[in-house]
Subunit: 218 residues, 2 copies
């Protein structure tokens, strides 16, 4: 069992954090301020198994950092955590660079030859960034068996092979089948998974159901 | 049976054109010049059932235009065909705005708040542009049963409901199951399907198999 920081107090952070606690990990929710209301509510909900602190507190506490902040604030949140608390650690980045400033559906703030996953890796060259889980609704991230007997796909990208193995283990503990975890390659593959979001949003819009995922068939 | 123009003499045009002929349609391959070698080879291969001409010849001949040109040249090709030969007709746009100028994998020349499908519609406001089939290898476009008993998804987007119904019929004649054709909405949904390409390319790169598609499971 590990000490894990969950950055972000939204639905994604709550879902990931709750699952990690269910699996027996110690979780510290990180946010801008120690007394963030949502973080305090999370701690109260998981009495004795979760704590809350600043991004820096949570990163210092953790062996692994889950970035569940909104993409537009991810780099700032990680900078607030401080290099000294991040270097050498695995950052599991589930965020997407969604830009809501140009109306709905949101567009992406980085595309084509860059991605948020890469930006995080470039900002913290000593961290081991692994991009994963960003292609689905958070409910499915931690409970793939909810649909199609868990037979659908999750992607993985990052520069550090050992870190990706660690994250694979984590995904399996969430219920993902080995055969359904596709290692796309290095962190530049974040471009692919992030740029899938506009299609994801359109499928959601057409079907009115966010609890879907894609299965690669061949 | 219809008169159909296939714009583009590459693998996609050849595959779509051959399928249309197999289905009994009359096909004219359109390219920049009347004597394009690949177009001539196509005509020879389908003796008596196919003809070749300029983009303008093919568009004038056709009730429906399949845009199978490379995305970077699609607008030019359609402009060469001439508004008078295009207006009022259905353009089935299977192209993607791939930009190879920034290295591999290619990036997209239009993203986020625009797409090639929309550009074509804006350039020819009197045409009925339907974006479809651009999310897979051309072999699967016309033979979905090749994998997973044909049980995987194709998307559709366009502003004209009747045109989309026509294209749905065409897709069914290619072997697509009604339940696997997802109408995403208007032509702006091309943003979603085009922006999926970078993920498609990464999956292809990771699996070394282009004969795959996605199935939406929920």
């Amino acid at each position: 069992m590990m000490n894990i920081a969950v950055f972000g107090t939204g639905m994604v952070g709550d879902t990931i954090g709750s699952k990690l606690i269910e699996l027996g990990h110690s979780v510290m929710i990180g946010s801008r301020t120690k007394d963030n209301e949502k973080a305090q509510a999370f701690v109260a909900k998981h009495a004795g198994k979760a704590t809350a602190g600043t991004f820096a507190d949570a990163a210092a506490f953790a062996e692994i950092i889950f970035n569940c902040t909104a993409g537009a604030g991810s780099i700032d949140a990680l900078k607030m955590a401080g290099e000294q608390n991040i270097d050498g650690k695995i950052i599991i980045d589930v965020s997407n660079p969604l830009d809501f400033s140009k109306g709905m559906p949101p567009s992406l703030s980085v595309v084509n030859t860059n991605s948020l996953g890469e930006e995080i890796q470039k900002t913290f060259p000593q961290a081991k960034v692994v991009k994963t889980l960003n292609t689905m609704w958070c409910g499915l991230m931690v409970n793939p068996a909810m649909i199609n007997d868990g037979d659908h796909h999750v992607f993985l990208g990052g520069n550090d092979a050992a870190a990706k193995e660690e994250v694979k283990k984590m995904l399996k503990s969430f219920g993902w089948l080995e055969k359904n975890i596709i290692d796309l390659g290095d962190i530049t593959t974040s471009r692919g998974t992030e740029m899938y979001l506009p299609l994801w949003l359109r499928i959601w819009g057409a079907t009115n159901n966010g609890a879907f995922n894609i299965k690669i068939v061949s």
